[in-house]
Every structure is written in C-alpha cells, then in structure tokens.
C-alpha cells in the first residue's frame, strides 16, 4: 500500500503545517497582547536592543560601506557610457535608501541577531529555563519574547538607516575621492532626486516590516524548537532560511505598492 502510505504522509504533513501556522499566529497575537508589560518595563527592551541591535552594528556598518563602494564603482562604469557620471550620487543613494539598505540590513540582521535569538530561546527551553519561569508565575511571552520582539522591530529601521548612510559614504569614497567625480554634482544630484517622503520614509516602512517578520520568525522558531541539540540547530537554520525568503518576498510586495508607476 505505498500510495495509501504516501497519502497518509502528505495528510500528516499538511495537518502539521496548518497546526504550526495556527500556533505561530497565536504566538504573535500573544506577543502583541503582552507587549504592554514590556513597554512598562522599558529597560528589558533596552537590554535586548543592545544584545541584538547594537551587537549587529559592526557587521551592518562594514557591509554597508562595501556595498556602497561596489555600487559606486559599478554605477560609475555604467553612467560613464552615457556621460552621466554626475548622477552617481543619485544612483548610490536611491539604490541604498529604497532597496539595498532595508533588504541587506534585514538579511544581515536575520543571520546575526535572528539566529542568535532562536538559539538562545531554544536553549532556554531545552534547559528548562522557560518552564522554570512559568513555575515562578512569570509569563515567558511577556518576559522573554515581547522585549526581544520590540527590540528587533525598533532597531531594524535604525540599522537600515546606518547601512544606507555608510553605503552613501562608501559610494562617495569610490566615486569622488578615488575616481574623481565632481563632489558638488555628487551631493547636489543626490539632494535633488532623493525625496524624503517617497524614498526615505518608504525605506523606513520596509525595514520596519522586515523587522517584524525577522523577529517574529526567530522568536517563534526558538519557542517551538524541540528541546534537543538537533532541535535547536534545526530551528536556527529554519530562522535564517525563512527570514531570508520572507524578506525578499515582502520586498517585492512592498516595492510593487510603493514604487510601481512612480
């Protein structure tokens, strides 16, 4: 009965998948419900902001610098063909603020901080720390999950902004300092083409949405991880894979709404 067995396996997987989606939705709802407790004790959010956000700064700044330098180099080579080297500043800034800043910062955040969140909560579960907290009449969603969630959501736009700022500086170093594009055109073109509302704020909205997606996935995977070494390592891998795919998918949807026809 190999067909029956296959059908049963498909059915079981489907039920498991639906159950997990339901559990994830309930988990996110509970996190939002208990967020008030976290905001009343803001030092918990500040502590998590340091461990997940501030500790990601170095990688974000270095990556932003190199990405900006690459855009500067590639952009100059392309624009030179059309005699538009002076538009390099616009190219660098728009690429970073609209797309690369939010997307790459979120991908790096998912790899650096998201995986750490999953591993930390998974290990807390495996070593009975979560159960101990419940037995001490402390809700782990309010005490452990919600502060991490808001730390990620608040800090993600800041990381994306820092990524973009460093990228613009990298583009400036390559374009103006090394290649010799006119400094005045570089900055004035950037100033005239980058619109605060349309470009910068839409980038901020994107990074905010990515922050919600990455931290929600990371925290859920950690909380749902089987309490074993394999369980935690599998959950960490799933966090990086699912977060990356979610970021790219959400980016397409948000770009379609924000910039199509603009």
């Amino acid at each position: 009965m190999p067909i029956a067995r296959s059908l049963r396996a498909v059915g079981q997987r489907s039920i498991k998948a639906v159950w997990r989606i339901g559990f994830a939705a309930r988990f996110l709802a509970m996190t939002l419900f208990y967020s008030g407790t976290s905001f009343r004790r803001f030092q918990l959010i500040v502590k998590e902001t340091f461990s997940s956000g501030v500790m990601s700064l170095i990688i974000i700044l270095v990556a932003g610098m190199f990405v900006g330098m690459v855009i500067g180099l590639q952009g100059y080579e392309t624009l030179k063909r059309y005699g538009s080297e002076s538009a390099l500043g616009s190219l660098v800034a728009l690429s970073l603020v609209r797309e690369l800043g939010p997307v790459l910062a979120a991908l790096l955040f998912a790899s650096r901080a998201g995986s750490a969140m999953t591993a930390e909560i998974g290990l807390m579960k495996a070593t009975e720390q979560i159960t101990a907290m419940e037995m001490m009449a402390v809700n782990p969603i309010a005490r452990v999950v919600a502060p991490r969630f808001w730390a990620g959501v608040i800090f993600m736009p800041l990381l994306a902004a820092m990524f973009s700022a460093m990228g613009v500086f990298g583009g400036y170093v390559v374009g103006v300092v090394l290649i010799g594009v006119d400094e005045g055109s570089f900055w004035s073109q950037m100033q005239s083409t980058v619109d605060f509302q349309h470009d910068v704020m839409n980038g901020v909205i994107k990074s905010f949405v990515f922050g919600v997606a990455v931290t929600a996935i990371a925290l859920f995977e950690g909380f749902d991880a089987p309490p074993t070494a394999e369980g935690v390592s599998g959950a960490t891998t799933r966090t990086v894979v699912q977060s990356s795919l979610a970021i790219l998918m959400l980016d397409f949807i948000l770009t379609a709404f924000m910039f199509s026809g603009a």
């Binding site: 290990l123 070593t127 009975e128 720390q129 159960t131 101990a132 907290m133 001490m136 009449a137 402390v138």
Partner: protein
C-alpha cells in the same frame, strides 16, 4: 496521595513511572484526565491563568539541573521573583538575596554567572531561588541527580532545614533511596502510574514487598525485570536450533 503541612515527602519509582508527571500536575503544567490536585483547598486544574499564577507564587520548584537563567548573575537569579512579584526597594531585595544565599552557603558567589558554578553549587543557588519568596509548597525534581557525595549530602540537608525553617511542605521526586530516606518523613513508591507502597523511612527499609525490596537494595532483577521483553527467544535471536 496527601502531603501534610511541614512534612518532607519522597516520591520514588523507576524511570518513566510518572514521577515528573505528578510534579507537573501539582504545578498546573498538565491537566489530569481523572481525579484532581487540591492545594490549600483549591483544585489546581479548575483555576484560570491568574488563579494558577497566584497559586504558583506560593510554590517553589527545583529543577533537575537547576534551570538557572544563564544570562543573569547568581544575585539576579535569586532576586528574579522578588523583582517580578514585589515592589520591595532594591536594598531590601539585596538583603533578602544575601540571606537566601547565605542559607545555602553561597553568599560569596552572588556576582558570579551560572556558567562559573559547579553542578552542586548551581543546584544550591537554584535552591536559594526556589525558596526566594518563602513558598508554602516546594517541589523537587530529582534534586540529587549528578551530584558528588558531598554535594548530595549538602543538598539533602538543605532540603530538610529549609523546609523546617519555612514551615513549608516539600515533595521530593527522586531515585536516590539512601539519601532521601535520611531526610524525609514519608515515602510513596509509584510504578506504572499507581502507588505500590508507602510508609515512613523505617517502614520502607523493613518492607518485604518485592518491589520496595528491589528498589531499596538496588537489586538487578525482580518485579522490575532486567531484560526488556523480546518477541523471540534468545536462542532464536542467536540462530541456534535447540
């Protein structure tokens, strides 16, 4: 099964017999399919979440390997419930934490992180955290597991002394017959989810019930068989024709 006020009661039995499940039922982490757990006149599984949390504030639980919060210092671990459930000023909390740590002999470790403690020390810090809010009921899940003889004796004595000092009730789920018989008032033996024997330590030691005798004396074979049941005979498995 009943646990009287001021008593230290051991619950013993082989692995998988339901000892930890019993603790989870008492703590309200599981709901019983039949029967009820009643603490201080209240049926645990009938409480709503607020009622359950209020009840848990009157309980303490020591986990098998301590379950200390690894991102917090020893001080913060012991102070955790005080910070969460009380509005006491930090100076008072500090004094209380030092008193609890002093009671387990580890006042000098308050600045250390859990990773810097030995297994026995971690268990004692966890014990200080368990009694931080002077609970009326203390649950111990395998408190002697993995400890050296000195730590084992120290933890055993602390369980007794802390219970007497607090006037609490302690339920100790354990495999360690010799150590627990030294400190407890009463013993329950569980097998396959039911009570198979009970009595004071003296009655247990003198018991001629086969299960109790095997457990107390650590005999290899008996009512709990050495061999897991096999579907075929040993000779068949070896391919020997008899």
């Amino acid at each position: 099964m009943s646990f009287g006020k001021g008593k230290v009661i051991a619950v013993m039995g082989g692995s998988g017999c339901g000892k930890t499940t019993l603790l989870r039922l008492i703590g309200g982490a599981l709901k019983p399919t039949r029967g009820e757990v009643r603490i201080d006149g209240q049926v645990i599984h009938e409480l709503d979440i607020n009622g359950l949390y209020a009840m848990r504030r009157k309980m303490g639980m020591l986990f098998q390997f301590g379950a200390l919060f690894t991102d917090m210092s020893v001080y913060d671990n012991v102070a955790f419930q005080m910070h969460e459930h009380t509005d006491l000023p930090e100076e008072i909390i500090r004094d209380l934490v030092m008193m609890k740590l002093h009671a387990v002999g580890l006042r000098g470790t308050h600045e250390l992180m859990p990773a810097e403690l030995s297994g026995g020390m971690a268990r004692r810090v966890a014990l200080a955290r368990t009694v931080a809010l002077d609970p009326m009921l203390i649950l111990y899940d395998e408190p002697f597991a993995g400890l050296d003889p000195i730590s084992l004796s120290v933890v055993g004595q602390l369980i007794r002394k802390l219970n007497d000092a607090l006037g609490a009730t302690s339920v100790v789920v354990t495999h360690d017959v010799q150590e627990s018989l030294k400190i407890v008032d009463y013993v329950y033996f569980i097998a396959e989810g039911v009570i198979v024997a009970e009595g004071t330590p003296a009655e247990i030691i003198a018991s001629d019930k086969p299960f109790v005798h095997q457990f107390v004396h650590g005999e290899m074979d008996g009512p709990i068989p050495f061999h897991y049941p096999a579907t075929s005979s040993y000779a068949q498995d070896l391919g020997v024709n008899v």
